[in-house]
Symmetry: D2
């Protein structure tokens, strides 16, 4: 905590100085007109990283879990059926949250390392001829396994089955970093969090709701108040807030969106790909494998790296933290001990990524992994050189 090393956890990210400052504000009156003057355009601009023009965005003081809760309690009723796939810890937890709210969750269990099971979704939807399934849940970027799913294909499966269910997507670790096309993919509820692609401290759950989801709010019977989206959208439209807002985080979000839009979302996505690809080259140079089963599943915000048989990834992560003062992500749930994760989202640079790769190498070597020092670094360097920020810019 007392060093200046970057963190390599898959969120919260290394907070840019500009956002550190934007978030740290003296108290001012959230009921004054200044609040609305900031908040209304922010809610509009937030639509861009979600890829929506038709949906509306709301900002809650909560972590991503609160965003999940917002999505379901505002649109569903006790006993409703939802279809979900489990392929990592976060898809698992969202399912658990649904069950705690009395929903009947049809779970498609997949291998951890796989993405959203398109065929299985399609089959389940096709079989649901009386349309008991009210919502399909999908985690866009499974932070636990470094897997990005094809949400567009989920939508296609739903359309193929001609199924009227809503589509809810967890984009907590993708939105703001990786392409997200809410309207094109027909997403009805999308959930993001301040501490990931928005590069802020934890504390805001950002939720976008399609017109269809908003219509569902009128009949949904699950109880909610703190996460009541009707209140929040109605207040937001008028530049107010239903209760006391976390004004510093919201000022930070304003600045974060400014940064993302100034850079251009396409550039932001390309940058994340570039940093991630360097890390993947390093993994390959180590002779190790990522958790994602196919290259097209690779996440650009987090890479989950399988450790060789006989090694314990939790020990590796703890060791790196204690010995080198660098935090990586451990394996969670089913993959505990089997993988460690390098988060590379937000304002991560190739220079910072190289220090993470180099540290991982030292820690693995120290613990007897069959690794050659510098090998992953060299592979990443080779990639970053050829695809440097400047090279990138010049060809843009």
């Amino acid at each position: 905590m007392e060093n200046q090393n970057p963190v390599f956890i898959p969120g919260p990210t290394n907070i840019p100085e500009r956002l550190r400052k934007a978030m740290s504000v003296p108290t001012w009156d959230h009921r004054s007109p200044e609040f609305g003057r900031m908040f209304v355009p922010l809610l509009q601009d937030l639509k861009q990283p979600f890829g929506t023009t038709r949906g509306d965005v709301a900002v809650f003081t909560a972590s991503g879990t609160g965003g999940w809760e917002t999505a379901i309690t505002n649109t569903l009723s006790p006993g409703d059926t939802v279809l979900a796939a489990r392929y990592g810890m976060f898809s698992h937890r969202w399912i658990d949250l649904c069950e705690r709210h009395g929903l009947d969750v049809k779970v498609i269990d997949c291998g951890w390392g796989e993405g959203a099971p398109i065929a299985a979704y399609r089959d389940a939807l096709a079989a649901d001829t009386d349309h008991r399934i009210k919502a399909v849940l999908s985690v866009h970027n499974e932070t636990a396994t470094g897997v990005r799913s094809d949400v567009g294909a989920v939508r296609e499966a739903m359309d193929a089955a001609d199924h009227p269910a809503m589509l809810f997507v967890d984009g907590v670790s993708s939105i703001g970093s990786m392409e997200f096309r809410m309207d094109d993919w027909g997403v009805d509820m999308a959930v993001a969090g301040s501490q990931k692609g928005f590069m802020l401290a934890t504390g805001l759950a950002i939720v976008a709701a399609s017109p269809k989801a908003q219509a569902a709010m009128e009949t949904a019977q699950l109880p909610r108040c703190y996460f009541d989206l009707r209140d929040m959208l109605a207040a937001g439209g008028k530049g107010s807030y239903p209760y006391t807002p976390a004004i510093g985080l919201i000022e930070g979000l304003r600045e974060s969106v400014n940064m993302l839009l100034a850079e251009g979302l396409d550039n932001v996505h390309a940058r994340h790909f570039r940093i991630a690809e360097g890390v993947r080259r390093a993994v390959a140079a180590w002779g190790m494998e990522v958790c994602a089963r196919h290259p097209e599943l690779n996440s650009d915000t987090v890479t989950a790296i399988m450790v060789p048989d006989g090694f314990d990834s939790t020990e590796l992560v703890n060791y790196a933290n204690e010995t080198y003062g660098v935090s990586f992500g451990i394996g969670l749930g089913q993959v505990a001990g089997q993988l460690f994760r390098i988060g590379h989202l937000g304002q991560m640079s190739d220079v910072m990524a190289l220090s993470g790769i180099a540290t991982a190498e030292m820690a693995m070597k120290d613990l007897g992994y069959p690794i050659e020092l510098g090998s992953g670094v060299a592979a990443a360097q080779e990639y970053y050189r050829a695809n440097s920020a400047v090279a990138q810019r010049k060809t843009a």
Copy 2:
């Protein structure tokens, strides 16, 4: 927003520099052992401002409204009856929240400016011979009216009726500033917020649960997940967190509790009384009245001041903000237009309070109120002089 004037809203407060810094932290790994080393003792120390040794404290990323939701969803089941009194906007909103969660709320409506209706509570409880009432709700300090209620007397009423209901108390604008005796008063759920007595930014709902409330968690059927107190208490006990914590706010809370305990809670309470009393002297010198119907109801964190007939307090508050760059609180709900509020909690000093009083005088004079400039200031000065911080210290 671009000046350095203090705010006089009844929370969020003027944030002390030390807490500005404590809250603003680079990202560090909340899953590392450092987190528990900070968090476990913090949860212990937090018991002191709540006045409990038997209860346990949990910290959620939310505003106070989330604390209310935590209190009821963890202990009650759909259709349960609760008894509540409405004597201001915040008691009203908590009732609304209960109703949205499908609870049957027996509402005792009181005049705004009155405190918790002890006799009415007693009668209602005595009449409830089959103990359908599962919980009694009481707002300790009604921020909308500047009224502090006698929670101990509520407990006595419950005991007099020999009623087994739980007692839930909103201490959002009192805990950390005014005396709160959770154990002595037999409170089962108490709710506080980071942005009031703890002098932090908005973002943490702090909830203490008695053993009885914790027992009720086992059978309560209201759905909850984000605000699930079992998860939070279990995690807290081990120094972890069920999801990503708002680590900056928690570091701020650690420092805030350090400050409160170093000053001594009795001294903190005495300081709030002293500042508040100066404001009340000013009101009296103006020939105006506070909303609180009896002096013993006066809150020490916020003073609500009735404006004379023919004047509109909302206009006054807007005018002061626009003309002098100073924020006061408007009247809410029933008392909209009829009162304005001077918040004086947190690190407010007599010097700062005097500038608020002086500004209110100018704004009132500008708008034609029958007020003598300097009169309230002089009355407050007289009181502060005789009871200055130093005098206070010397006689301590």
Copy 3:
């Protein structure tokens, strides 16, 4: 130190949040091109608060004393004669600095409370028929006595005597707050400091040199290196710095000048007059006198208030600090014990000023001064009301 009360010392001022942030920067490379891209236009823009288009500005890491040293060592030679008037502690110290550098200072001693002695200057210059006087020194705003001198009249006296001496002016506590017309007044060296009208932390001496002063640099024999203006101007012109610059302070200065120019210097000056006038009304209401001998000498950045016979102003200042946590300025030198000073420069607002006035009243009353509580506050309120920021804006 642990409260949020404003300070009322005549600099350093209460630092605006925006400047707190601007000054606090991570290290970046001052030899990179970014430095020049910031610095070159800053040096240009700085000419405006100095009121010069012909002069050039340099920024040294030093306090104002370093600015004085810059002015003389770059333009004079050992044994040179300078003419100076002493009418307060700061004019005294500049004289002392000259003497330590081996200059022959012809001192015109004035009463403290008087301004620059125009007639005496004129007589001395007229008598200096062989033009041995190389420079005339004048303190524009004597911080020790709250006196603003008429620099234009000094120039007229010089011109009347047809004397070729240079004119050096200490504008440390005026530039950026009060009108300063370097070109119109024929000032050759003007000295300002970051911690006064620029509202920053102490650490930058800002010096403007006329073409005549710059010509004198070529022949001046006083040794200098750290404060060598030739190096600094040459480097500044190329966007570099002769040694390591205080980059955070310079970024702060960039933002400060942005703020001043956005508000408009005329508005800045009018604001300072308004705040100051309120303080002066309070002093009059107390039945006390300011140190400045004539109203036209009143400074708009600091008011020096004579205490009644039998009272000790140092005791008053210490008492206010210990009892109320508020800092005023003590009397210095000849006027030690006889006056206390209220600094009201920078981002001071009427609201803040009122708290200073109110605190002074309490402290004086506590110490037995024959003062009526609230009297000064009321007088200031009356003035501020009629001349509020908004009123000001509306008539602008």
Copy 4:
């Protein structure tokens, strides 16, 4: 400027978060007793990194150049002779500063990359039988070449010649990072800067004066006022300051010294050696040479790396900055174009150092240097692994 990459310039360093916060303070009254309560013990504690108990320390608002000026103007008179060696840009500039102050500097010119020329010093002193040399100047750590000189040997040479001259040492880029033994080495004036080993922003020149130097102050005739050490030492002893101090930087220095002493100066020095040695291993792995002519001359705060014939180090440094957003130091003066410098002082960690090494590799490869990617990283990793912070601690 808009990334979070570390800087690798040899000062200012990457500022620790704790010091960022310590330096950023609201204004408080530097004439209040709090100032002395902080400042007096700070001046005492500062003696430790200087390695003195007999000397006294003063803190000026200036950069290191101001420290040089302090050393000579307080102890010497116009025309005095000083003996100095030139072996880099900073020794050169100090000589220039002396000459501008009218001193007669006997310069021993050495190759850049060599250290203090002990034999030449001895010969010159032995030849100076009438003791015209009043002071010997030596740069302990020549930042331009990455060379640490043996100051103890300079003292031995002086003693061998039985010469009474004073010994003045520039420790700007060593004190606080590398061992400095003022008393043992018989140093009379030692100069440090806030932005190097003290890890702060630029702005404080920290000077220690031996009793002998302090005695010389009484007769020295060079003019000085801003840098008058008598005023500063006298004020410091009483906890005051001769003019307005840079209070934020001084608060930062207080915290910095706390950090250094808590870690233990021996540990601080060992840490700097460890980080530096890793960088040197990388240079060796690249098949390149450092500027320092012998291994015992290697600096532990900065490594200057000779580029192969045909390459231009300035181009390399600019390229790395533009392409990868990382700042290294260029070659200065005689060695311009011939070397680039990696600064690794302050809170630099092995993890950060590896990112600098990796970046240098990419930039060199891009520009056609005959370098193998990852080779330097691997060499540094190997060293850091075997000498990690933890390993270090365990064997301590």
